[in-house]
Symmetry: C2
Subunit: 320 residues, 2 copies
């Protein structure tokens, strides 16, 4: 182990922080997690994250200088290489130089990535799409987001916000209102939060759905629809055809535009609803320009919750 | 001039070939054009293209060795770096090693690009988007196509067919039939050929349109609608709102996904219809995710017919 190249990966979410020492093969060697405290100021969060590092290193018998650097994947809009978090709505941060704060505290170089970028890099370097150069990664969980690896490099966009596939429109300006303020975004129809809200609203008029959650509407989630669809319940099947078709069209258009060699799908909504995913794939295959979808591999995210950590660390280790 | 780095640019279209000696600043120093002969075999076309090179070099008093290399922009599907044209429908070519044929004939290294990729590179290196690193280039002419420069590099995709934005869907599987065999592609509604065909079909029931082309329906083209729209004719204005809105949505979604710093628009349909373009831009601005469109520059293609030649030559000169 001495002399082996390792990096620290940090997953900075809305409510939790997780850090891990990751080796060059993408293995998590030691990890710690903490719930963010009441004080979400940049200084307090920096301190809290830094506090998780020592125990990881101690567990491995390593000093701080064993780390080639620190990679952060943050649920935030990140300004390119600068390490500045332009906006992290859940933390209430605007224009926070988190990279510099953490680097000063840890004495190691820090690189900050958007969480979906970190996940995409993780899946391409050590996960489902290992070794591929042109990969679209799409997660459908609470929200819908994506990461792009093109020509073997992460494409973060001019403003650091590429990959916002959840806000691609599937309906016109009279469509459903999305959290982004726009209308007709695919996330407004299929993001886990929006879909669950909508299910709770329609459940009183959909007895089978109310029944499947045992009458507790507050616990309704997309998996309840999947249960019904697996039983062949007509309304559930129709809903999956409609909503799955929306994401299928969005993915077909993205593949037509980008011609990737693989599409990696992940996130709780898709993972918990194979019937929905089947509809997504069916429409994707039916609607993509034939030549653009030729040879496209449809893959499932393989790294689970570690993807962001591993990706952020890998990005630091392979910095070019 | 001696010692100056120059390359040959070749624009291989459906009916014409054009070659030019291009210098490192993107200037066309000498150019020749020819209509392709009856014999469209790869060997005959290679011979015809090669025959245009000598006169260009003679005009400049240069020998073949003055050329660093040859860049071809072809109306074709190209297999990455290999120089193989996988499919050129208008030439009837399949799996033609055109790069190798031309290299053998000219004794210079040859690189073959898709025509829209060559145009995109030209506009980014020497045209409207000079010096920018993340640029989406979209041409709406006979068909609709695009080229992507991301992170300062041409993104051609895993199969060499990235940028097929004309085949992004704006209507469902009951939409208009496109030349690609799919339904609902934006090109089916706004590509110059399809739009003109549709105009000829509806003109008998649209007196103002029939009138504006002097009763000669065969000469109907999108510019006729523009003429009416400029006069405020209701049906023409509605058509531009509908069709412009379609392309506007497609561009908004592409910008949401890719977060480029600039979008370069070109092609005869848009160039000849400022009213249409205005609708495109209005809907693009209204429907793009705010943060993805922040700072987006909307530019007009600047190199005209030279873009492909200049781009292909520039790509050779800057080979990395």
């Amino acid at each position: 182990m001495p002399g082996e190249r390792m990096a620290l990966g940090v997953d900075l979410g809305a409510t939790n922080a997780r850090v891990a020492v990751v080796d060059a093969s993408g293995r998590v060697r030691a990890a710690r997690r903490a719930r963010l405290g009441e004080d979400r100021s940049p200084e307090a969060v920096t301190e809290q994250v830094a506090g998780l590092v020592g125990p990881c290193l101690d567990e491995l018998g390593l000093g701080q200088d064993a780390l080639a650097g620190v990679g952060v994947g943050a649920a935030a809009q990140v300004r390119g290489a600068s390490g500045v978090i332009a906006l992290a709505p859940n933390l209430g941060w605007r224009e926070v130089p988190f990279g510099a704060l953490l680097a000063a505290r840890l004495g190691r170089p820090v690189r900050v990535l958007n969480d979906l970028d970190a996940i995409a890099w993780g899946e391409v370097r050590h996960g489902a799409a290992r070794g591929l150069r042109d990969v679209l990664v799409v997660f459908c969980g609470t929200g819908i987001g994506g990461g792009l690896v093109l020509g073997g490099r992460l494409h973060s966009g001019a403003g650091g916000v590429a990959g916002e596939i959840g806000h691609v429109k599937v309906r016109g300006s009279d469509g459903a209102l999305c959290g982004c303020g726009g209308r007709g975004c695919v996330e407004a129809y299929l993001g886990g939060k929006n879909l669950s809200d909508w299910l709770r609203a329609v459940a009183p008029g959909w007895p089978a759905l109310a029944e499947v959650c045992g009458g507790d509407l507050s616990g309704l989630h997309p998996g309840c629809v999947e249960t019904l669809a697996q039983r062949g319940e007509a309304r559930a099947c129709a809903l999956w055809a409609e909503r799955g078709g929306m994401l299928g069209e969005v993915l077909a258009n993205a593949v037509t535009l980008l011609n990737p060699s693989a599409l990696v799908l992940g996130g709780t909504v898709l993972a918990g609803a194979p019937g929905l995913r089947q509809e997504v794939e069916r429409v994707l295959r039916a609607r993509v320009l034939a030549v653009s979808g030729e040879g496209l591999q449809l893959l499932s995210a393989a790294l689970g919750d570690d993807a962001g950590l591993v990706g952020a660390a890998a990005h630091v280790l392979e910095e070019r």
